[in-house]
């Protein structure tokens, strides 16, 4: 008991001293569990997040847009890989992680349960959804767990083009025909509030946040990051000559920030529970990909085994 206490004290002292925790280091079970949950949810989000955009690759309006979107979706697959690898260093297998996603037990970001209805959604997703993700991920680059922090550094380097290509799509539409302008505004209207929800519940309703902050898994609170996002978007929307769908949005001189209206947490909770517009479709698509890929995985293993046998015989 007393050795346990001193181990935990020493662990916290290392965190307080800004030392990184590495896979083989002693860590409290709760720290390990929290990280596995968070990193795997993050990984699942990258993988499921390929679906709403993959939906538009074959219908991109030009070759330039098509190669950019394809490259972005490839990046998201890579992000999934970096994150699964980081989670695996904590002692859980890729297969367990993936089964938790496919069985519906694990969560992923609710944002990906919304449909991408028009081409303008590719712009709004890049600008707002990747924009919100970047804000979260930049903060995670300083996370106390080494493999997670290092994965985030890679991810952030790759993300910067995601948001820019999205903004460029919206900017082009915003200078287009009345129909294109309307399509642009409509996409922004639909993606704004779900993007705001990506930062998670308000700090007052976020019970695990305090511990995560102490462990320096989290560096900034949900509301702090959300405010940063609003301040960014409220300025950038002017360049687009569009509006954000929030009548309460206005600059607050005293606070030095933009004020904004209340978030509909009922909607958030419903989507989280599985009742969003695309929850079923997303999981079905991942299951189908997994099942239809089974023969490829088996064939690759059989091929590898055969080649190894041949090389043993030839020596």
């Amino acid at each position: 008991m007393s050795t346990q206490v001193s181990l935990e004290e020493r662990f916290q002292a290392r965190i307080d001293a800004e030392q990184k925790i590495e896979p083989k280091d002693w860590m409290p079970e709760a720290y390990r569990k929290t990280l596995i949950r968070q990193i795997s949810q993050h990984a699942h989000s990258e993988v499921v997040g390929m679906l709403p955009e993959g939906n538009w690759i074959t219908r991109a309006p030009s070759l330039r847009r098509k190669v950019a979107l394809l490259a972005k979706v490839q990046d998201e697959a890579g992000h999934g890989l970096y994150l699964y690898s980081a989670a695996e260093t904590l002692g859980i297998s890729r297969e367990e992680l993936y089964n938790e996603l496919l069985s519906g037990k694990a969560k992923y970001s609710s944002i990906f349960n919304y449909p991408t209805l028009t081409w303008a959604d590719m712009g709004a997703v890049g600008w707002l959804v990747d924009g919100a993700a970047i804000m979260n991920q930049v903060a995670l680059c300083k996370c106390s767990y080494g493999p997670y922090a290092r994965a985030m550094v890679r991810v952030c380097k790759e993300e910067s083009f995601h948001q820019r290509q999205g903004f460029e799509i919206l900017l082009t539409l915003s200078k287009g025909t009345p129909e294109q302008r309307a399509m642009c505004q409509d996409a922004i209207n639909r993606w704004w509030w779900p993007s705001m929800m990506m930062f998670g519940p308000n700090d007052s309703d976020s019970p695990h946040s305090a511990q995560s902050m102490r462990w320096k898994i989290k560096r900034y609170s949900n509301d702090t990051l959300r405010q940063k996002f609003v301040d960014m978007a409220a300025e950038q929307i002017r360049v687009l000559n569009m509006t954000l769908p929030d009548p309460d949005l206005r600059w607050n001189e005293e606070r030095g920030h933009y004020d904004f209206g209340p978030i509909d947490w009922n909607e958030f909770n419903e989507v989280l529970k599985g009742n969003g517009p695309c929850n079923r479709e997303r999981l079905a698509a991942r299951r189908k990909a997994w099942e239809e890929g089974a023969w490829v995985r088996e064939a690759a293993m059989a091929h590898a085994a055969k080649r190894q046998q041949q090389s043993v015989q030839s020596h």
Partner: protein, 96 residues
């Protein structure tokens, strides 16, 4: 549903430019070394981050034990005479 045929894990090392060391970049699952190399190229060098890749089965790596860090690296600690600043030389001496 534990799968006996899960691809083994590989560690990926990348030389970013000619003349530099290979450096650990991350890990991935692959059926064999060839697949590991191709996947490493596809995920870790999409933006020309490398001119050479090594892949090593993760199971083949032996690591020092973090719990033993202090005693393990102890022998180097008190050998300050291995550093140039340990030695007294006259102030005016040049090129040393």
């Amino acid at each position: 549903m534990a799968n006996h045929s899960e691809f083994p894990l590989w560690e990926v090392f990348i030389r970013s430019h000619g003349g530099l060391n290979h450096k650990h970049a991350g890990s991935l699952h692959a059926a064999d070394a060839q697949m590991a190399l191709e996947h490493a190229r596809d995920v870790y060098t999409r933006r020309m981050e490398g001119v050479s890749i090594w892949v090593v089965p993760s199971a083949a790596i032996t690591a020092s034990d973090p719990a033993d860090t202090d005693p393990f690296f102890e022998p180097a600690k008190d050998k300050i005479y291995r550093h140039p600043t340990f030695y007294d030389i006259p102030e005016g001496l040049k090129h040393m």
